[in-house]
Each structure stands twice: as C-alpha cells, then as structure tokens.
C-alpha cells in the first residue's frame, strides 16, 4: 500500500437523519486525525449539486486519490456520486444511514462505535482499490439464428428489421419447422400458410437476412461478441440462383427423387434426394434448361462470424410406441396428434362421413417414466382437432379422455366452445386398446366423475403426445457449452432472464426452452431478438472488473474452470486459467472457490477483503460483546438489509456488513482469516438455492462453509461460528431476526478464543 495516498472523507448528515443518531462532527474530527486523510467535510445534503461541486473542487485542490462517502446505501444516489473527478472505482460508499443510523437509532452510543468501525473498514477498502478504465471491444453486430421454425424466423426478422445482419440456418430443406405442418393454429384457427407467407416475404425482401438451409453447426469457437462458427451445408444439388422452377425435372424423374416445394415454401427451389436416385441416372441434369442441377455437389463448410447466437431448435413429438397399452404402431387407426394434423390437412375424405373418435390426453406427459412435464399445448390441440371433426360433421361423436384439461387464459373459450358443440369430456384415461373388429378400436375407461365404466368402440383414436427437446440438443450442449434442465430443454433463469442461456451472448427462443404454442413462440422470439440487440449495444464498452488470476500463486488446479457457472474460463497461452471478459458475469464464484485465494474481482479483491478484516476493531463494542462479520449478496441480502434500514427495523449493532456480488464470492481463506483474527461470527447471506442469479453461487457457498465449520469443529471451536443464511430481497424482518438470534447465540458461546 502506498502511504502517500490522499483520501477525502465526506459525511452526509442527511438533514439530521444520520446526525440524530450518530454525532457526525466528532466522527469527522476523529477521522481527520487518521493517517492519509487529507480532506474531511460534512454536509447536510451530500448529494446536492453544491456538495458534489465541493468534492470535485477538493479533488483538484488537494489532489485527492481516493474518496470515502459516508452517507446512504450505495444503491441510492448512484448517478450523483458517479462522477467526482476521479475514477469511480476510487470512490467508496459507507452505508451510514440504512445499515447504521436507522437500524441502531435506539442505541446511539453503540451506533457511533459501529460507525467508526465501518469507516475504518471501508477506508481500507478504498485504499486498496484499483482504477478501472472501460475497454472497447469490437462486437460483430450480426446474429446467428439456429433453427428455421416459427421462432427462428420471427427472431431473424425482428433483428433484421432493426438494421442488423442475421444468418438463419435450418437443418431441413425448407424453412417453417413444425408449425408449417399444422392444419390450423388455435385460437383463431388460421391456417399456417397465411402467417408464414408473410414471414417468408419479409425474409425475401430484407437484404439483412441470409438463409442457409440443410445446414448444421459443426463447431462454435470465439467468444461472445465474436463467435466463430463453422457451418456444414449438405448439398441440395439444385443451384438456387439458376433454377427457374420450370418443373421439367420433376416430370422426368423416374424415382420421385425431386423434392418439389409445395404451396408456400422457402426457399421455393426444389432439392434432390440422392438416396432415391438410380445409379448413373443423370436425366434431370441433362434436361435442366438452365444447368441448375449438379448431382455431384458436395457438402460445404463455411466459416461465419457472429456477435450473438439465438437458439431456436424447436421440438420433436414424443413417440408413444413405448406405451404399449395404447397399441401405437400395432393397431390400425391409432394415430398421434401430429399425424392427425396431417390427416386434417391432406385427407379431406376423412371428414366426409360422421366419425366416432376418441382423444387420449397426456400420452407420456406428466409421467415420470416418459415426459415428467406438461407439454402445455396438447389440451388445446386435441380440442381444436375434435372441433375439426365435429364441425365437419355435427353427427360425429367425439370423446376426449383426460386427466386435467388445461386451457389457461383465452383458451378457456375454446374449451367452452367444445363443450357447447357436444364434445364429450371424460375424466379418466382408457386402459388397453383392442381391435375386436376390423377398422374399429375398442376400449374401456372409467369415468371418475360419473363413477361408471364406459365401453367404447371408435373409428379412430388420437393420442395427444407431448413435445420433447430435439434429439440433437445434448450434442448442441457440448458444442456451445449451454446447460440443459432436467428435461433436456435449454436452461435459463425463468423469472428474470427467460431468454438468456447460461452463456453470454447466447439466447434461446421457442420450444427448445420449454413447450410453447405458436403465439408464445413468437413472443419469446421477440424477446430473444431484443436481448440480442441489447447485447450488441451494451457490449461496446466494458469495465474490466472481471476476475483476474494471480499467476504467481495459481497452481492450475482447475477448480475455477470447473466451478464457473458460465464457463468463462479457459487456459491462456502460458497455461494459466483466464476468464473471458465477454463471457464472465462477475459473480466471483471463482474468487470464492480458489483454494489459494489467487483470484480477485476487479472491484473487490482478496487483498481488499483481507485488509478490511485487519481493519476491524474486534472489540469495538467492548471485550464481551461478540461481533459478526456479514457478507451480503448484492442481489438479495444487501438489499434486504437496506430495506430493514428504510423500514427502521432494529437489530443489534454487533453486525458489520460487506457487500459481495454473490454469496459464492467469499473465499474460505477470508473466513479463516476473520476467525483467526478474532471475529466471533461470520454470516454469509445469499439467495435461496434455486433463486441464485449466478446459478450455483449460494450452493457452493454452503458447501464451502460446511468445510470450514468442519474444520472449526476439529479445532475445538464452535462450528456455528460460520453460518449461511438465505435471505430474499423482501425478507428484511428475517434479516433482522437472524442477526438478533445470532448475536444471542454468540453471546452464549462466549468470545472467540482467538480474539486478542
């Protein structure tokens, strides 16, 4: 530490709010005697323009290197204190109001002692702070959208229409995905061709959208903002630019190997299925008047640069064959809902005469053995399909066998309509399906509402199968490094960042994240597009406050690489772990996990924390009073503590709080140091497990604390001297109670024998 550092300490009385508890004058006088303090000033409103001007003048006059502001919580008046004429990382806020004066107003004497202790701690922090300058990193403002279904197409259009380049890749020959195969969408019963045609024309007319069909991701490298993607394109054998759609090849082909675009398709260019081609047959290539056919075209690899990636890989229908009692694949006229969709679309004769049909809901869904989740759309799909039959022929009798009908929101209208039309809903799933007579299906079911057994003979049984993630998802996971949830859908923080995957710059849209209907897919595509644009915008200037590894200490144990929730770490050219500034989200889980305490975040380092602990006067409340050092997570616990201040909830002044980005930031060595220098209790407060914004920060903090409390037990110290508690944003009462209870316990335990 440089002893010549000049520090200015500025006190705010908050118009008496702080002063009525703490004697700010005497604090200021005391502070002015500490070494390194060059300027001390007190103001009734430190956030006023005059006071800010005074600070800026002082910076110039005294040449201040660091500034300490003893006022309200660092979450308030951020803007006001952001530009004081020195690097903003040289300015430290001491939370005098929310975490001292307001919560200890019943005990002014001790509040003043705590205030002094807090000042000393944060003085040490600011002394050891580093100046951080934003760095400019060029971000390629083009997006890669993987999957050309309804979500992918919409996301592409949304991004392209804001003037950014998009590359949309689809593994099939044509865009449209599963939605294009449908007969009608609910709830308005529009045919997909209508909306799709509009989307395709938008794609065609927008020069920012580039489409690659029959293309798949080979590898993804680079880092967010500058991904380098290798794309493998399978041959189509027809040159898209040359083909005029004359159709000559189609008439000629003896093997039906030409896949001709139907109705509305994009691209509206045929393709050739070489697997069907007869050997040595070259007829189509010969007849093509524009020379568009190349039967010997090979797969191409192309390198693409993309700033961000949107995953819209969609879904696959669940295969009901493993559920043997429904006889799918064994019995005729047992079809899945997707197959029935094709019947509705293509075989109009099916609807010519009245039919007897039965729908079985939740086939494989909400079943631990198959799909443990609800697929969200099957109820509406079945009702819609039942309506196709009923509306074509009102004499048809249609049964829907269900566990629960789930038609949320506007879709309830669909259900009501179905009931009115005379579709029979039976609560109870049929047992085994049989075929007693040709072309018919027989089965029995127990109607649990009426309490009677039904024996039914139908012409067709439609199995309402759910959605599952596409086969290739685990493979994609390995390539991109995203995480999947327990159902193999792409994981995200559902509440706060539904569109963000756990990797920076990679977003998800549509059914690859969770089962969704068309309207929700389109919605999620819009959100993913917005997130992508935000990413392009926000990432031009970055503050390098990401963790840095002290290579003099690092032993390359790789714990940081393993524990980083965002896979931001890789080895640098010297073989040491290095976090990618673009991938990192500054949670500091690596800093907390490093066994050698060799990793520090830019704005709160191991060294700072260590010095801060040294600066604590362990007996600031007297020899017999225990003290608690609290590490409060920025997202929840610290704010709950601030809330306690705002509400004026009282807790004992034995608690000193330090804000950390995540509970996982706190290193074991820091805790060990605090214990061995005489702190009586360590409290780490973070979010509850499944709410941690950094995925596993809280969970890891708990594991680490267990290790330390085991160690304390071995040392014949009380293992309860370290404690993890989960405090949510709104649990300020719980926070105060926790501290009160902990102080009581620590008093019973007696003082830390290591306190001198």
């Amino acid at each position: 530490m440089d002893n010549d550092i000049k520090i200015g300490v500025y006190f705010c009385t908050c118009e008496g709010e702080i002063e009525k508890v703490i004697d700010v004058d005497s604090s200021a006088k005391e502070a002015s005697e500490w070494s390194g303090i060059t300027a001390v000033h007190k103001d009734a409103f430190l956030c006023s323009n005059d006071a800010i001007r005074k600070i800026r003048d002082d910076v110039k006059e005294f040449g201040l290197d660091r500034i300490l502001i003893a006022a309200c919580s660092p979450f308030f008046k951020v803007e006001e204190f952001s530009d004081l004429g020195i690097n903003k990382y040289f300015v430290e806020r001491v939370n005098m109001r929310e975490q001292c004066s307001r919560v200890h107003s019943n005990d002014p004497e001790n509040a003043a002692k705590k205030a002094k202790a807090m000042l000393k701690i944060f003085l040490e922090k600011v002394k050891n702070s580093k100046s951080l300058q934003p760095v400019k990193i060029p971000v390629s403002k083009s997006a890669l959208v993987i999957g050309g279904g309804v979500a992918g197409i919409n996301a592409s259009i949304d991004i392209a229409e804001t003037g950014n380049e998009v590359l949309l890749i689809e593994k099939n020959l044509f865009l449209g995905g599963k939605a294009a195969e449908l007969h009608r969408y609910f709830p308005r019963m529009c045919p997909p061709s209508c909306g799709m045609e509009l989307m395709f024309s938008k794609i065609k007319n927008n020069t920012n959208v580039h489409v690659l069909t029959s293309a798949e991701i080979d590898t993804i490298g680079g880092s967010p903002g500058n991904f380098e993607v290798l794309i493998k394109t399978s041959p189509r054998h027809v040159d898209m630019d040359k083909c005029t759609l004359c159709g000559k090849c189609l008439q000629l082909c003896p093997q039906n190997a030409i896949i001709y675009p139907e109705g509305f398709s994009y691209p509206d260019i045929p393709a050739i299925n070489r697997k069907l081609c007869a050997a040595e047959c070259n007829k189509c290539a010969e007849i093509c008047p524009v020379d568009a056919i190349d039967l010997y075209e090979e797969a191409k690899m192309s390198n693409v640069k993309a700033g961000a990636i949107i995953l819209a890989t969609g879904w696959e229908p669940f295969d009901p064959a493993p559920i043997t009692e429904f006889g799918y694949g064994r019995l005729e006229n047992v079809v899945t809902n997707i197959e029935f969709e094709r019947i509705a679309k293509e075989q109009k004769t099916f609807f010519d005469e009245p039919k007897k049909a039965a729908f079985i809901q939740c086939v494989g869904s909400r079943d631990e053995r198959h799909l443990p989740y609800c697929s969200d759309v099957c109820c509406m799909v079945s009702i819609r399909q039942a309506l196709f039959i009923k509306e074509a022929n009102p004499d048809s009798s249609v049964y829907i066998f269900y566990n629960d009908i789930r038609t949320p929101g506007e879709y309830e209208e669909l259900y009501r309509k179905a009931r009115k039309t005379g579709i029979i809903f039976v609560k109870g799933i049929p047992s085994e399906l049989r075929q007693d007579e040709p072309q018919k299906i027989n089965f029995s079911a127990f109607d649990t509402v009426a309490g009677e057994r039904l024996d039914i003979t139908t012409d067709i049984v439609i199995l309402a199968t759910g959605m599952k993630p596409p086969e290739g998802t685990p493979d994609l996971k390995d390539k991109i490094g995203i995480t999947l949830n327990r159902n193999n859908f792409i994981e995200s923080h559902l509440q706060c960042y539904p569109q963000d995957t756990q990797r920076e710059g990679i977003f998800s849209a549509g059914c690859c994240r969770a089962p969704m209907d068309v309207s929700r897919s389109i919605e999620s595509a819009g959100t993913a597009a917005i997130k992508t644009l935000q990413f392009f915008n926000n990432r031009t200037e970055i503050i390098p406050d990401h963790p840095a590894v002290n290579t003099l200490k690092c032993d390359v144990c790789k714990r940081c690489i393993e524990e980083c929730p965002f896979k931001a770490y890789s080895f640098d050219e010297k073989g040491f772990p290095k976090s990618d500034i673009m991938k990192c989200r500054r949670c500091g889980v690596c800093m907390g996990g490093c066994p050698l305490a060799a990793i520090s975040l830019g704005d709160i380092s191991i060294e700072q924390l260590s010095e801060m602990i040294d600066a604590i006067d362990k007996s600031y409340l007297g020899d017999d009073e225990p003290i608690i050092l609290g590490f409060l997570c920025k997202n929840d616990a610290y704010r709950a503590a601030d809330d306690a201040g705002l509400k004026g909830i009282k807790y004992p002044p034995n608690f000193l709080g330090i804000m950390v980005p995540c509970a996982g930031t706190v290193n074991g060595a820091i805790i060990a140091k605090a214990i061995s220098t005489g702190v009586d209790g360590i409290l780490i407060a973070g979010c509850s497990d499944n709410q941690c914004h950094y995925v596993q920060g809280s969970a890891l903090a708990k594991v680490r604390l267990t290790d330390i409390s085991n160690k304390l037990k071995e040392m014949y110290l009380e293992p309860e001297r370290v404690r993890f508690v989960s405090i949510n944003r709104d649990e300020s009462e719980k926070f105060a109670e926790t501290i009160e209870g902990y102080v009581k316990e620590l008093k019973e335990m007696g003082r830390n024998p290591l306190r001198i």
Binding site: N550, C557, E563, S610, T677, D707, E714, Y716, L754
Partner: protein, 108 residues
C-alpha cells in the same frame, strides 16, 4: 506418520489431473486414485510430515497423524490458512487445546 485423506471430504480437486496435494507434495507422494477420484498417499513410509498437503487442502480433507515422537495417539495438529494468516490448533494426548495464530507472508 503419513497424511490420512478423509474420503468423504476429498473432491479430487475437481480438475482431476493433478490435485493440489499432489502439486505441493515435495516427495511426490500424493496422487489421485483413478477409480474413486480421491487422493491418497502412495508411499506411506516416505512421508516427512511436512503437512504442506494438510495446509493446502481446500476441503480440509487431509488429516495429519502426528509421529509418535511428538505426540502419542490422541494428539492432533490442525492448521487453518487465512489469506495472510495461519492458525495452528495443537491438541495433546490429554485433550488440552492450544491455538497459535500467526501472520504469514504469503499474500503476494
């Protein structure tokens, strides 16, 4: 007497190529059991009781059995490493506990 690895605590240092105890051991005695993924001392009689591995282990999974010349069964020596501090807890055969906290110079 050699270090004893508490299997339930050891997590093989996650990276699983060379755990910290293997890196720090001056005699190159500690290594990972490929099957269990846990560390062990491969040559018990060669250990010098330097306790480097015990101090370094992030999980606190390594216990040191003190040589009988220093303390008979029941005696323990437990280190706890802070950022720039080490605290020794010494337990003698009668269960008497003494603790010593020192400042170290391993901060930078």
């Amino acid at each position: 007497m050699p270090p004893y690895v508490v299997k339930e605590k050891c997590d093989g240092c996650k990276g699983k190529e060379e755990p910290l105890c293997e890196q720090i051991c001056i005699g190159d005695l500690m290594t990972l059991d490929a099957e269990t993924g846990k560390a062990y001392c491969r040559s018990l009689r060669d250990c010098w009781d330097c306790m480097s591995c015990t101090k370094l282990c992030p999980k606190g999974a390594i216990e040191q059995r003190i040589p009988y010349q220093l303390g008979y069964h029941g005696a323990k020596l437990i280190p706890m490493m802070g950022t720039d501090s080490i605290t020794w807890t010494c337990v003698d055969i009668n269960g008497k506990v003494e603790r010593f906290a020192y400042r170290t110079r391993n901060r930078k």
